[in-house]
Structure formats: structure tokens, C-alpha cells
């Protein structure tokens, strides 16, 4: 009730949550007028295709006279009217079911898509839930095996660091590497660093330098880059025109790139039209369907989509993550190669952005990210770095967890250092040979071991850009780079660079979803298509590849952990079969079968000698008398303690397992009952064990006893469960079924007070 108090009542839990990273982001309710609606917008047109005399007279709510440039282009180049007659009349739900039906082949779905209008495509995709979308994506991906693309940039445009990062990216299995420039004139230098670095890391990796089209084409003509994905398209005419292009100009540019041997991928994505102010009241997914229809019509082999740079806007509206996965599926359905985003920062929240990633990560796409930041995001000049260098081990672990190939390979530190150093040396050699400003040995070293460009020595940037201009004027090409490498003793890298030049001559990588393997063989949707049709078919992570992806550098062989502790002087000596005691002031300390024998330290790394000493000291502190026995027939702490209690003159025993878990028991209780349980062994110090001893003494003497304060660390289990399992395995190995307990004496007598 309002009380007139100006400060409203606040929940500390709400306040705590508001401080989380997630709350840096704005969520909004749908606002279709501005295009702020993920899919199924109230103004999206009903799917429609009217053909009269072989001519499309209406499509998706518009008469031919009102067609904008996108409609016109799609109708002219992107619709198969024969298929349309069959496909447009299919029920939306039936089509949606076909997408997830493993009995309907990809080829049939691709064929039907040729006859579907953008509104129909969006409508059908909108019927799939997230898991159905993932299955559809797995089935519709163009290439058999998934792959990944890397971003390699740095704020200083350091050539040694670019080459080292490109080499590491290539060595880690990225099939494509993309760089860009802070200063446009750097383009040829960055392209050369990327080419040399990538081919040092793994021959066959394709590279691009995202710059203005004329400059890009020039780099391509010289053989310094092999692909381009800078061709953006948009779903409404005003935004397309504001982007200073039309479907015809983009399609022309695509063919122009291909004519120079450049693999071309268009770029589109939900949210761009709303961001640029002309969504025309239409939903993001519908507008993306229009983009993708235009991309296919333009003759692009593929697309980079999945919202890309607008991802945070799409995630602000309900169903945004689902719509982004939907647009990836739509692109694959249209038979396009898909580089599926996950490059721009999607969220401040690690949980949220990882949850979004799973949509592409689990089914696998042609490129799971369109730019994984191989270096720390501080150096990512794309505005990318959604996942970066520091996230690599998480990515690799999640691949291992799900048994999924998301295109990144684990590589040991020494091997990474080797390829980084070699690439930095190689680019140093090329710079000398081509008469560019020298790369110092200090740069090579910093590029090999450094964290980011802040570790790199500064270069004379004015000299670099002048040299870059001069390089272009001299007409330096990929062939010159190969020759320079060869002259300086990098024959293998020279051969790899030349092999990329040969690829430009045969142009095989212009086909859909092409990547090049280390032997120079092109794998595309033509010769290595995805033919997934359910369990047992298609690409599966198994065999050697699965061995590789599970063998992370930090994986430990449990057999090594299982070995016996180093032999040391004995801690305890056995003194024959333990008898029942008759001293009512006695507390039995019952230890497990391996305690102070094949296991000699607790999970918290306390020596068993010290632990026994602390317990006995505690019992003495409490005024009782300790007697140590070993229970041999069982490894469970409850039974160890219970058996000890049967032997105890007071009926009280403190049982302890080798890993350090302890229980205070009384002889008349059921075995699984107890007086106090101490289950947080990773947290216990010697003082904890002394306190347990004191309490056990208190019970033995019939005193009022306050339980030892409970400590709690809910992460201890996650951290230590493997060690716990292995320690317990050794304890159970020491079990002798049916063996009677034996009396123990500390090898060095317990000091009595």
C-alpha cells in the first residue's frame, strides 16, 4: 500500500539481478510499425503468386505494377514458375513437416523452394519450433561437413601479429579467415600478412580483406585474397537504395568478382531494415526472406546471415533468437551456403549468447560463425568478438561435451607457438624481399607469445601506408609473395601460396559452399554434398576426427591419477584384530581400507598422519581417549563409522574415508543414520578435524554437543568429482570382503596432552 514514503520497497534479489551483465541490454515489446517484430507480423502479406500467360501478375499482396526492385528482381531471376504451380498450393503445415521429415530428401525441398514466394517461405519457417529448426538446418546445410570462419585483425595493423593469428587460426582448422583495415591504405599489407600466415598454418585456407569494392577487386586480381562477403542486400527498396545499391548492381558485382576468381558470398540479416528506418511495418523474418530470395536470384553461391551486426536489435524482441535460426534455415533451404553469424556481440550475458549459439552450433552450418575472433576482442576491428581467444577452451569443451564438430580443433601450446613464430618469420622475410618496412625480431617474438596488439612494438605507420601504396603501384602479386617466400627458405609456404594461385585458375571454389583441404582438394556442395537423412547418415563426428576433437590439451589420463601415492615411511602399523573396547571414555577412530596406506592424503591435500593427529588431539581435548582401527571390509563412510561404533567402549566412533569425508556414529543407530556427517572434505582443515574429534568426545562423555558448524561449497563437487571418483576407486580396491577390523597405532606415537 502507498504510504507516502518516497522510497519504494525493493527486493534485494531483484536488485542483485539488475546488476547482472544481462541487464545492460534493453528488451522491448513488439512494435510492428517500426519493424520491431521478429516474425509473423500483422502487416506481413498473405503468400500469393498469380501467374497469367507465363507472367507473374501478383506476388505477396502486390500487383506487378507496384513491384519494387526486389519483387521485380526475384520474379525475373529467382522463381521457377513451373515448380511454383505445384509448390505454392501446398499447405503451409505440410511444407513445414516436409522440412523436418527425414524421409523427404534435401534435393526435393530445394526444388520446391524454387517455386515459393518470400511470404510463403517466411510463413512456413515460422511454423517450426527451435528443435525443428535445428533438425531442418542439419538436413538442409549445403556441404556435408560443417566448418568455421575466423576474424583476424588488430588495432595496430601489425603484420607480424596478423600473420601469427592467421597461422594459428588456420592450424586450428578454420576454413576461411577474414581481415579488414582500420586505415584503408593498409589493405594490401594486411592481405599479404593474412595470406602468408594462413598458408603457414594450413595450406588451402581461404582469405579475404573486407574493404571498399574497388580496392577489394584489386586485391583479388593480384591474387592476394580468394573470397569476398561484403555484398550486402536488404529487404526493402528504400534501405537497399540507401545502401547505394540495387539487386542488379549487387548481382553484377557478384559476377564481376567471380570473373576475377573470387568466391562471393552475399550478406543479409534480420533487423537491418528496422535499424535503417524503413522496415515498412514488416516483420524481420519476412524481410529476410525477401533478401534471401534476391540473393539466390542474383546467383550468389551463398550468404552470410543470421542478423550479423544487428543481432542485439533482433534479440531485443520476443522470439528474436528463433527468428535468427529461422533465417539460417531459410537460406539453407534456398540452397545457399550459410555463414551463420555469431560474430557480432549478441549479448553481454555469457549464458544468453551461448544459448543463442546452440541453434547453429548443434546442427552445424557451412560456417558456424562468420567470424570467430581468434585474437582477444580488444583487437577485433569488425566490432565482432562475440566469441574470442579467451573463449577457445570453452568452445572446444562444448564440442567435446556434445560430440559436435563446430569447426575448431584443439592444438597444444607448443605447436601453436611454433606456427605463430614461423608465420611471423615468414612475413618478416616477405617484407624484406618486397622492399617493405622491415619487421623486427622483437615484433616476431611479441607476435609469437603476445596476448594482443598492446604487446606489440609500435611501427612507423606513415612508412607502412606509403609502402602499401607503392606496393600496389608496382603491381606486386601473389606470385611475388610465393617467390619471396621461396628465396628466403620458406619453400613449403611458397608452395601453399602458389597452390592458392592455381585454385584461381581452375575456379572450382566458385561452386556452392566450397572450402579447400590441406591437399588442395576443393570440397563443395557439388562433390561433397550434405545427404543427411536421419540417424546413421550424413556427417557424424566419429573416428579420427572425434578422437582429435576430444583430445584437448588439458585432458588427463585417469590412469595417471589412479596410481598409488609415493611410498613414504609408514604412517600407521597394524596391531592385530581389533577387539571391542570396554572403556566408556573411549572414542574409536575408524579409518577406511586405504587410509594412510595406498592413499596418504585427503582430497584437500592434508596428510593422513596430520589428520589422524588432529582427530586424536581433538578427542583428548574433549576429555576422551582415542583408539584407531582400520575397517577393511567396506569403503562406505557410514559403514566404516558404524563398524567402529560397534567396537567402541562408549559406542561412539568417528569414521573417516581416505578422501577425508567423516561421520560421527553411535552403535545403536542404523548404519545410514548418524550423529554428524562431514561431507565437504575439500573444505576441511586440520582444525576442522580437531573440532570433529572434540565433538565425538563430547558424545562419548554424554555431554551436550553443538554440531560443528557446517561449511558449504556447491562448486566443490563440480571441481573435484573426478578426483573423488578416482580416490574412492582406490579405496574400494583396498576393500577385503569379510576381513575383520584391525587395531592401528600411529607409527610416530600420538602426542598426549
Amino acid at each position: 500500500m502507498p504510504t507516502g514514503d518516497s522510497s519504494p520497497m525493493r527486493s534485494r534479489r531483484f536488485a542483485s539481478r539488475e546488476r547482472r551483465e544481462l541487464h545492460r541490454e534493453q528488451l522491448v515489446s513488439p512494435f510492428p510499425e517500426l519493424g520491431l517484430i521478429a516474425s509473423g507480423g500483422p502487416n506481413d502479406p498473405e503468400p500469393e503468386l498469380v501467374v497469367e500467360g507465363g507472367v507473374v501478375t501478383r506476388m505477396d499482396g502486390r500487383a506487378a505494377a507496384d513491384f519494387d526492385v526486389i519483387d521485380r528482381f526475384v520474379v525475373a531471376h529467382g522463381l521457377d514458375l513451373e515448380v511454383a504451380a505445384e509448390a505454392m498450393v501446398l499447405d503451409d503445415t505440410e511444407l513445414a513437416r516436409m522440412l523436418v521429415d527425414i524421409g523427404v530428401p534435401r534435393a526435393e525441398l530445394v526444388r520446391l523452394a524454387r517455386g515459393l514466394s518470400p511470404a510463403k517461405l517466411a510463413r512456413v519457417i515460422g511454423l517450426l519450433d527451435p528443435v525443428e529448426l535445428m533438425l531442418a538446418l542439419k538436413k538442409l546445410r549445403a556441404r556435408r561437413a560443417p566448418a568455421n570462419q575466423a576474424h583476424v585483425t588488430n588495432l595496430k595493423e601489425s603484420p607480424a601479429l596478423l600473420a601469427a593469428d592467421a597461422a594459428e587460426a588456420a592450424r586450428r582448422g578454420f576454413a576461411e579467415i577474414e581481415t579488414t583495415v582500420g586505415v584503408a591504405r593498409y589493405a594490401p599489407l594486411n592481405a599479404i600478412a593474412l595470406l602468408v600466415g594462413s598458408q603457414t598454418g594450413r595450406p588451402g585456407v581461404m582469405t579475404q580483406c573486407a574493404v571498399e569494392e574497388r580496392r577489394n577487386l584489386e586485391l583479388a586480381i593480384r591474387g592476394l585474397v580468394t573470397y569476398a562477403e561484403t555484398l550486402s542486400v536488404y529487404g526493402t527498396e528504400p534501405v537497399f537504395v540507401d545502401g547505394d545499391d540495387t539487386p542488379w548492381s549487387k548481382a553484377f558485382l557478384g559476377a564481376a568478382y567471380a570473373s576475377r576468381g573470387v568466391k562471393v558470398r552475399f550478406t543479409s540479416g534480420t533487423g537491418s531494415e528496422a535499424l535503417m528506418g524503413y522496415a515498412q511495418g514488416l516483420s524481420m523474418l519476412y524481410l529476410e526472406a525477401r533478401c534471401l530470395a534476391a540473393v539466390r536470384a542474383a546467383g550468389s553461391q551463398g550468404v552470410q546471415n543470421g542478423s550479423i551486426s544487428c543481432v542485439a536489435l533482433v534479440l531485443s524482441v520476443p522470439g528474436g533468437t528463433r527468428a535468427i535460426l529461422g533465417e539460417n534455415v531459410l537460406a539453407a533451404w534456398l540452397d545457399l551456403e550459410v555463414a551463420s553469424g555469431n560474430d557480432a556481440i549478441a549479448s553481454h550475458s555469457e549464458i544468453r549468447k551461448t544459448a543463442k549459439l546452440m541453434g547453429q552450433f548443434l546442427p552445424g552450418t557451412d560456417f558456424v560463425t562468420s567470424g570467430y575472433s581468434v585474437m582477444p576482442r580488444h583487437d577485433n576491428t569488425f566490432g565482432g568478438g562475440n566469441f574470442d581467444a579467451d573463449d577457445l577452451d570453452e568452445w572446444l569443451t562444448i564440442q567435446r561435451d556434445w560430440q559436435v564438430d563446430a569447426g575448431i580443433e584443439p592444438v597444444a601450446e607448443d605447436e601453436v607457438l611454433r606456427v605463430r613464430e614461423k608465420a611471423a618469420h615468414a612475413v618478416q622475410a616477405v617484407f624484406v624481399e618486397l622492399g617493405l618496412p622491415p619487421v623486427s625480431d622483437a615484433e616476431v617474438e611479441a607476435a609469437t607469445i603476445g596476448y594482443d596488439s598492446r604487446d606489440m612494438p609500435d611501427r612507423d605507420r606513415a612508412a607502412d601506408v606509403e609502402a602499401a601504396d607503392d606496393l600496389l603501384a608496382r603491381g606486386v602479386s601473389g606470385l611475388d609473395v610465393a617467390l619471396a617466400l621461396e628465396r628466403r627458405g620458406f619453400g613449403d609456404v611458397a608452395e601453399a601460396v602458389l597452390s592458392m594461385q592455381r585454385q584461381r585458375v581452375s575456379a572450382d571454389y566458385l561452386q556452392t559452399a566450397a572450402v579447400i583441404d590441406a591437399e588442395g582438394l576443393v570440397h563443395s556442395a557439388v562433390n561433397d554434398p550434405n545427404v543427411y537423412s536421419g540417424p546413421g547418415t550424413g556427417y557424424r563426428l566419429e573416428g579420427e576426427r572425434w578422437e582429435l576433437l576430444q583430445s584437448l590439451p588439458n585432458v588427463v589420463d585417469p590412469a595417471e591419477l589412479l596410481g598409488e601415492d609415493a611410498e613414504d615411511e609408514p604412517i600407521v602399523v597394524e596391531r592385530g584384530k581389533a577387539a571391542r573396547g570396554d572403556d566408556s571414555a573411549e572414542v574409536v577412530v575408524a579409518v577406511g581400507p586405504a587410509f594412510a596406506d595406498t592413499i596418504r592424503r585427503t582430497i584437500n591435500d592434508l596428510s593422513h598422519r596430520d589428520v589422524l593427529q588432529a582427530i586424536c588431539d581433538g578427542i583428548h581435548d574433549g576429555g576422551a581417549v582415542p583408539r584407531v582401527v582400520r575397517v577393511r571390509r567396506v569403503a562406505d563412510v557410514a559403514f566404516i563409522a558404524h563398524e567402529g561404533a560397534q567396537l567402541s567402549g562408549s559406542g561412539i566412533a568417528l569414521g573417516i574415508q581416505s578422501k577425508g569425508t567423516a561421520v560421527i556414529h553411535r552403535s545403536d543407530l542404523e548404519p545410514l543414520d548418524n550423529l554428524e556427517l562431514f561431507g565437504m572434505s575439500p573444505l576441511y582443515t586440520l582444525e576442522s578435524y580437531r573440532a570433529m574429534g572434540r565433538n565425538a568426545a563430547g558424545y562419548a562423555l554424554g555431554q551436550r554437543v553443538g554440531p560443528v558448524p557446517t561449511e558449504l561449497d556447491n562448486f566443490a563437487r563440480a571441481k573435484l568429482i573426478v578426483r573423488t571418483t578416482l580416490l574412492h576407486a582406490r579405496e574400494t580396491q583396498a576393500v577385503q570382503p569379510g576381513a575383520a577390523p584391525v587395531e592401528l597405532e600411529l607409527a610416530v606415537p600420538v602426542a598426549s596432552p
Binding site: 569494392e213 540495387t246 553484377f252 576475377r260 540452397d335 602458389l498 585458375v505 566458385l510 557439388v526
Partner: protein, 137 residues
């Protein structure tokens, strides 16, 4: 040997006999030795119109008609000089060229035997006229 677009891909590994540089150097002879000996230069490192037409056939045989059409345009453009290429691209951007100018560019393309690309430019001109995307005359 005749070309089978369904079986002879990748050309570089399956049919290197069909692939050569613009100067007629066979693919297998693009080597470091040839480079050192000065037998090939940078202008030789590109796909020929013939190679791009073969790639177009491969795309068409795989059911990718728009990609095949784009590769046909690429085959035509392989013979078109860089400057003309960029000039035509610029002319196709919104409100850069009048209908007459686009017609001139189409004719220039035809003079390089780029008939399909020329038709593509004329089609754009018609669409631009309807949508107000031509430059003011």
C-alpha cells in the same frame, strides 16, 4: 575428351587437361620452377572464360540455375577490362546513370561479346525507369 559436368568436378583435380591460364599454360605447369624461370606472370593467374563456362555448366547440372547464370556473366566479364567493370558497376548503382547512359554501357559490354550481361543492364534500366532510380537526364 568430352566434358561431363556431373562427374568432372573439381576441374582442377578431375579434369586438369581442360584448365589452362589465359596464355595457354596448363594448370600443372603453374609451378615455382616456372615462376623462377619467368614463364608465368600475374596476368596468367586467373580463370579463362572457358573455365568459367565449364563452372557454369557444373552449377547448372547441380540444379543451380541462378548461380549458373551468374557464372555465365562472369565468363563474359572475364574478358572485360577492370576499369570498364567498375564503371558499369557504378552506373548500376541507384541514380548514377540515365537510361541513355545505361544503354551505352550495355552497348560497350556487347562490344566485348558480353551479350547476357548487356541484357542484364538493359533489364535494370527498365526497372530503374519504373522505380525512379535513374539519374536525372
Amino acid at each position: 575428351m568430352s566434358f561431363d559436368p556431373k562427374r568432372d568436378y573439381p576441374l582442377g583435380t578431375e579434369r586438369p587437361d581442360l584448365v589452362s591460364t589465359p596464355g595457354g599454360v596448363p594448370l600443372a605447369e603453374v609451378t615455382l620452377d616456372a615462376l623462377r624461370a619467368g614463364r608465368i606472370d600475374a596476368a596468367e593467374i586467373r580463370a579463362t572464360p572457358k573455365t568459367l563456362r565449364l563452372q557454369s555448366e557444373v552449377a547448372r547440372a547441380a540444379g543451380r540455375e541462378p548461380l549458373a547464370a551468374s557464372l555465365e556473366r562472369a565468363a563474359e566479364l572475364a574478358a572485360v577490362p577492370d576499369d570498364l567493370l567498375l564503371a558499369v558497376y557504378t552506373a548500376l548503382r541507384p541514380r548514377r546513370a540515365t537510361a541513355a547512359q545505361l544503354e551505352d554501357w550495355a552497348a560497350r559490354l556487347e562490344s566485348y561479346s558480353a551479350g547476357k550481361t548487356a541484357a542484364f543492364v538493359r533489364e535494370a534500366a527498365a526497372a530503374y525507369a519504373d522505380r525512379g532510380l535513374l539519374a536525372d537526364a
